[in-house]
Amino acid sequence: MSRNRTSPVMLWVTLLGALALAIVPLPAAAEPFRPPFLTMAVIYWTMMWPRLCGLLTAFIAGLLLDVLHGNLLGQHALALVVVSFLTLRFHLQIRNFPLWQLTAAATLLMAIDTFFVFWSDGIAGDPTGGMARWATVPAGAVAWAPAMALLDNLRLRSENRSKRFS
């Protein structure tokens, strides 16, 4: 297999879905516990399709999230590029982990993502929100397994289809 022929359509569809989930209105009480959907999608795709989803994809996705959230351009882009780099570096190991270890690794990556956004908020003088902002990390850990099952399903479907046509 010299070239990966899988089409990137599914990748962008899920990334857009993650962006939509990131701005769906939630009740104020549930708001801090919104899982970082976009980060999860980026980690998953970088791990599974490292040829299609790399640093540039992570950068663009992060930029779009910055625009949607109305904060400093580049905050999430920076965080996601770092996360995507780390995932790319270790993707061959992470991919073979059993589910619980995979969840732990993804949680660590999501914590790194949150930390980078928190850091840039602090430098820019924006409100940093205290401990409440870290609530997304455990929420992401809880949401990881079902999200991964869904994305696995979509990925296999898309890979099978591309095999059939090539």
Binding site: A20, E31, L56, G62, L68, H69, L72, G74, P127, R133
Partner: protein, 321 residues
């Protein structure tokens, strides 16, 4: 390299306005996504409106008619009062009040950054919206427009931690500045001296200083006043009168063009007559503070020192009269 690019982007976005266009294009491209997220709640409202029982609609219609009659009645008095006010102002040779033309906009039910209180409106500069325009709803001041995207715009609510509104107490005309706290139910007034005349239940209205918000719209009611001995300032908490978490339709208040041009001319030479005649107080040197305060500063440190120094004087001047 992308990391460096991201950092450069952040620095530029923080420092100056070069990226406004890029952000505008991206935002315009993403607007359909926001509309799509907003669609279910719009559809839900459409359904409840269309499937509502007929007698309930009739009842609602009757209620609205009653309300309209009441408001009309009050408006008649208002016209006379407005004319009287204009005559008085002409006598005193002071500036005219802000007009009441307004544009209706809808807030999309889309969440943004959870640490900031920002909302997306479905009107932009194509409909005559401009950055800095004040937003009110039926009950009080909501916020101001901070970013324009052509067909939509972003606005900052008055409870955002970076937002400040110049206010005055209706009861005695005492002026101060209400800062957002990041809590939708709470504003704080940190610049009132310990001897300031403020009580729980006082209504705060926008004072119009600084030119960003038109004068006389209700902003908040004071909920709690606490004076710790040893602290130079009171701890005052107020609750916004507008239902900031439940509103859907808002009014964008358009000051006439003359008013928009006025604030930059005011700042170097603060004219005492309008300020003094509006609140009936000895002129206090607050215009510089007010011009600095209502603009949503990107960094908090820029807002607070400018606002902190002057407002200490009006409370001292208040009880003397």
């Amino acid at each position: 390299m992308l990391v460096a690019l991201a950092i450069v982007l952040m620095v530029f976005d923080h420092r100056d306005q070069h990226l406004v266009h890029i952000r505008g294009y991206l935002a315009a491209a993403l607007y359909p996504l926001q509309e799509a997220v907003d669609a279910p709640s719009t559809a839900g409202r459409w359904l409840t409106e269309n499937l509502a029982a007929r007698d309930r609609l009739i009842e609602e219609n009757a209620g609205l008619k009653r309300e309209l009659l009441l408001e009309r009645g009050q408006l008649q008095r208002m016209a006379a009062l407005e004319a009287e006010n204009a005559r008085m102002r002409a006598l005193l040779d002071s500036t005219a009040k802000v007009g009441d033309r307004a544009l209706i906009a809808e807030i999309l039910s889309v969440d943004m950054d959870r640490l900031r209180h920002r909302v997306v409106l479905n009107r932009g500069s194509r409909d005559g919206v401009f950055v800095g325009q004040a937003i009110i709803d039926a009950r009080g001041v909501v916020g101001q427009v901070t970013r324009d995207r052509g067909n939509s715009s972003e606005a900052l609510l008055i409870t955002d931690p970076d937002h400040a509104v110049p206010v005055e107490i209706v009861r005695n005309g005492l002026r101060s500045i209400a800062l957002g706290t990041g809590d939708l139910e709470r504003l704080s007034l940190p610049f009132l001296a310990r001897n300031a005349d403020v009580k729980a239940g006082d209504l705060l209205v926008s004072s119009g200083l600084g030119g960003s918000f038109p004068a006389g719209y209700p902003v908040a009611t004071v909920q709690e006043v606490r004076g710790d001995s040893g602290e130079p300032f009171l701890v005052v908490a107020a609750r916004p009168t507008a239902a900031l978490d439940r509103i859907r339709e808002v009014l964008l208040v358009q000051p006439p063009p003359a008013e928009v041009a006025a604030p930059p001319e005011d700042s170097p030479l603060p004219p005492p007559p309008p300020a003094a005649s509006r609140s009936g107080q000895p002129a206090a040197p607050s215009p510089p503070a007010a011009t600095a305060a209502p603009t949503p500063a990107t960094s908090r440190s820029a807002t607070v020192p400018a606002a902190a120094a002057p407002p200490a004087t009006p409370p001292a001047a208040g009880p003397e009269q």
